[in-house]
């Protein structure tokens, strides 16, 4: 049986960040990286841009063979793990072969969650999680005149925008009253929706699909209110969920994701998990959450990699902070932290600023003079500095009013004083 000291399953941000951290501390012991994909590592986040043609699929790879050679990494493509044998310190691949390990990182990410809509199972539809998905969608585009997107989250909205730009008549069906409700409040979402509507995208919010069925060469989605949406292409983007079924019987504890501690370690001593598959403590609540965002995957991957390499500099995971950046039709929406609804209400201050003419919105949520959340549409601030202000729980003190007035400048000055 093949054996490796470090075994990393997955090849996206968490995996690559862990690999980077391991090699900063341990340049010698064997590292093997497994991916079920047939390609070099890439990010799921870039896929909508592959669909739209903005990104050349040949140039989206995050590492190349020379990187793996220089860092003495054994990179195995087309290797899908179907079973973790924790007792034997080995994984079993889909082809039946086994790889032994001393330390294992699960960075397998998430997969599209398919809603239980009658008719969906027998229908041809698209999802967007792998490079193959993106290429299939791109390949289908020239024949598409009408499209239905199920789900108004980031993937769905990115795809809807790109389809609309390609001249397709797009309808987005979202169960929640607003799109992107995981990150933005009603005001911000409404502004985003306005831009989409102005660009010809039909948004059906607060709507659910009763059934889908094939019609002609395409399909037809029937909403709960009876509305029928005919389309040549159906994209299901109703969210993603960690893939944990291959862990059944392994003894690795899972809930919605793989449960991990402050060092991203699972309940099994030599197995770690990071990224979209991991369920780790939240920053605002000690419950373990699935944060599922790229910068957090990088963060978790680094901590896991350092812990695995026994780097004495390993720090505890501070907890997941919800955050995201979203560009749409040349405009920007950014969210860092939580809205007031997620906080114990004493000491909470909320400031909202809306400039309808400029399509600009800024909302700041403070808790006990500390930043808890900042949300903007076309508003200038540095998300990285804001994230750090939250993590460090910097007391704004006398700068509070200045911060509310001019968050970018004030935060930059605070940054210089507090962590230069």
């Amino acid at each position: 049986m093949q054996h490796t000291h470090y075994l990393i399953v997955g090849a996206s941000h968490a995996a690559l960040s862990a690999l980077h951290a391991i090699r900063l501390h341990d340049t010698e012991q064997e590292v093997t990286l497994l991916t079920r994909d047939g390609s070099l590592p890439y990010s799921p986040t870039v896929l909508p841009y592959v669909v739209s043609g903005r990104s050349d699929p040949a140039r989206v790879f995050l590492r190349d063979e020379s990187y793996f050679a220089a860092h003495k990494v054994n990179y195995l493509r087309g290797a899908k793990v179907q079973k973790v044998k924790a007792g034997q310190n080995a994984v079993e691949l889909a082809d039946g072969s086994n790889i032994g390990f001393d330390k294992l990182l699960l960075a397998t990410g998430a997969a599209p969650m398919l809603p239980p809509i009658p008719g969906l199972a027998g229908l041809k539809f698209h999802v967007l999680r792998t490079l193959a998905d993106a290429l299939a969608l791109r390949e289908a585009l020239p024949r598409v005149k009408r499209a239905v997107v199920l789900g108004g989250g980031l993937i769905g909205m990115h795809a809807a925008e790109n389809l609309a730009k390609g001249g397709v008549a797009v309808s987005v069906v979202e169960l929640q009253p607003h799109v992107l409700s995981g990150y933005f409040d009603a005001e911000a979402s409404a502004m985003i929706e306005k831009v989409f509507s102005a660009n010809g995208v039909r948004l059906l919010t607060g709507a659910s699909v009763a059934s889908v069925a094939a019609r002609d060469a395409g399909c037809c989605a029937t909403l709960a209110d009876g509305t029928e949406l005919e389309a040549d292409l159906l994209l299901v983007a109703t969210g993603v969920a960690p893939v944990t079924d291959f862990l059944a019987g392994s003894g690795v504890e899972t809930e919605r994701g793989v449960l991990v501690d402050e060092h991203m370690r699972t309940n099994v001593a030599n197995i770690w998990a990071a990224g979209d598959v991991a369920q780790a403590r939240g920053f605002f609540s000690h419950d373990r959450i699935i944060n599922g965002i790229l910068p957090d995957a990088v963060d978790q991957g680094r901590i896991a990699g350092m812990a695995m390499a026994e780097d004495p500099g390993t720090k505890n995971y501070a907890g997941g902070v919800p955050l995201n950046t979203y560009s749409f039709f040349g405009q920007q929406a950014v969210s860092v932290g939580v809205h007031e609804g997620a906080l114990v209400q004493s000491g909470v201050e909320v400031k909202k600023q809306l400039d309808a003419e400029e399509n600009r919105y800024l909302k700041i949520v403070l808790k006990d003079r500390r930043l808890a959340g900042i949300f903007g549409v076309n508003a200038a601030f540095d998300p990285g500095i804001m994230w750090e202000l939250i993590l460090r729980a910097i007391d704004l003190g006398e700068e509070k009013m200045a911060f509310l007035r001019s968050p970018q400048q004030t935060a930059r000055a605070l940054m210089s004083r507090n962590w230069r």
Binding site: H13, P295, V298, G384, A411, S416
Partner: protein
């Protein structure tokens, strides 16, 4: 991995908020006067100014955050490069940067960041108050880092002492064809002559008497020369062994123009043996033999200006140096090594003593810097052809108290003692400037005309 890079240095206390750097940057990078397009952002903070700019991190988070492989750390230049053709405008890099170093610019409709202007930053050129500096010291690290360290690991210096740095850097630069003399003092005390029958260096080293360092090196150099071998004779000596006990041998060798490099590591006293005063101990300083009490208030005489005395020997090369100015030190070391092949080269390096001067062990380089910035010591070099040249003239010298107040050995000073030190500094400065104004000795000038 392992390379050092050029960087930008910002001194907030020197920034007057003129924003010329931002104008220069937006002009250079966006052909615009719009400060929003500047990659360098000066922000008001309290009474002063702070800076948001790409730090060109060694382990950049923005690169790890980029889903499109548009950002990468350039191993050659150290710059975090941004490839517009790959960027998808997702802004996730701005989440990864905790320094505001990469930000969305709504005018150009993409993120912008500092690219160091291919090694000639426009902002630095535009900064008249001198708050921004382009630090190129990395060159030294990259060059010297590849040279062999000729001292054994684990020298036993006091915590925070800069002498280990002086010893290791000097010998790396000189290379293995050398015989080193380390007379009694801190340097053998740190282990240059070794323990248990082994030397602390990987090259021949010996322990002359305090009195005869330069004489012995004279013989060593002459012997190797007669054998037809080019072996550099180098002394690494303290100020006591140089200015006092060893001076007659030193003066004689300098006067005869013996071929050697004599490096004096000046910590202003016999620090190795219990911090006694030397001829280089400054006025007012506490030492164990110039105590402070009811009647005594530290040393009552000024230090002798040893490098000036050596200049008066008309040596092939004389220079003063400080570990707070490593580029300057390295340039002088190179010239001294060259000069020592044909004549007497003397290098005087100031070495603040954490133990004997009584200051926190993490402050050595800062103390060395303040000594220069207050003109307490001056950095210059001399050769008989070009005369004396100030290599780091200090125009707006800091008040002498900025230097004195950080050192425990001056804690007792009375105002009149401080005034005395001020006068001594002024006198010294006057003398050096006078010598600097003379363009070479009369003989050389006459020969040239």
């Amino acid at each position: 991995m392992g390379a050092a890079y050029e960087t930008l240095n910002f001194k907030p206390e020197a920034c007057d908020g003129c924003l010329d750097c931002m104008t220069a940057c937006s002009q250079a990078k966006a052909q615009s006067d719009d400060h929003l397009q500047s990659r360098i952002q000066i922000v008001p903070s309290g009474d002063g100014f702070e800076l948001a700019i790409c730090r060109q991190c060694g382990d950049p988070e923005c690169v790890l955050n980029c889903p499109a492989a548009a950002l990468s750390k350039n191993a050659e230049s150290g710059v975090v490069d941004w490839d517009q053709s790959k960027c998808v405008n997702c802004l996730l890099c701005t989440v990864g940067c905790a320094y505001g170093g990469i930000a969305y610019d709504s005018v150009s409709a993409h993120v912008i960041k500092c690219d160091m202007c291919e090694g000639a930053p426009a902002c630095v050129k535009a900064c008249t108050p001198g708050a921004l500096k382009h630090v190129k010291t990395a060159r030294i690290y990259n060059e010297v880092g590849d040279l062999e360290d000729l001292f054994a690991p684990g020298l036993s210096g006091c915590q925070g002492c800069n002498t280990e740095l002086i010893m290791r850097h000097t010998l790396r630069r000189i290379g293995p064809d050398v015989v080193v003399a380390t007379p009694p003092g801190c340097i053998p005390g740190m282990g240059s002559v070794g323990y248990n029958g082994l030397t602390g260096t990987k090259v021949p080293v010996f322990h002359p008497l305090l009195t005869n360092t330069a004489s012995m090196l004279t013989g060593v150099r002459r012997h190797y020369k007669r054998m037809g071998r080019d072996v550099l004779a180098v002394a690494l000596a303290g100020d006591g062994g140089t200015a006092d006990v060893g001076f007659q041998a030193l003066s004689g060798a300098a006067e005869r123009g013996e071929e050697m490099l004599y490096i004096c590591v000046d910590n202003e006293g016999y620090m190795n043996t219990g911090m006694q005063r030397s001829g280089c101990t400054p006025y007012g300083a506490w030492t164990s033999t110039t105590p402070v009490g009811e009647r005594a208030h530290g040393k009552t005489q000024d230090a002798k200006n040893l490098p000036l005395l050596m200049l008066m020997h008309d040596c092939a090369y004389v220079a003063t140096a400080s570990t707070a100015f490593m580029e300057d030190l390295y340039a002088k070391l190179d010239r001294a090594i060259q000069a020592a092949k044909t004549g007497f080269a003397y290098l005087h390096i100031y070495s603040p003593c954490t133990t004997g001067w009584r200051f926190p062990s993490d402050q050595n380089i800062e103390v060395a810097r303040k000594a220069v910035e207050t003109n307490f010591v001056m950095l210059w070099e001399f050769n008989p052809h070009d005369g004396l040249r100030l290599t780091h003239p200090v125009e707006n010298a800091r008040p002498i108290n900025d230097y004195l107040e950080v050192l425990g050995k001056y804690r007792h000073l009375e105002p009149e003692q401080v005034a005395h030190i001020e006068r001594s500094v002024a006198t010294n400065l006057g003398r050096i400037e006078m010598l600097a104004a003379v363009k070479g000795p009369t003989g050389a000038a006459a020969a040239a005309s």
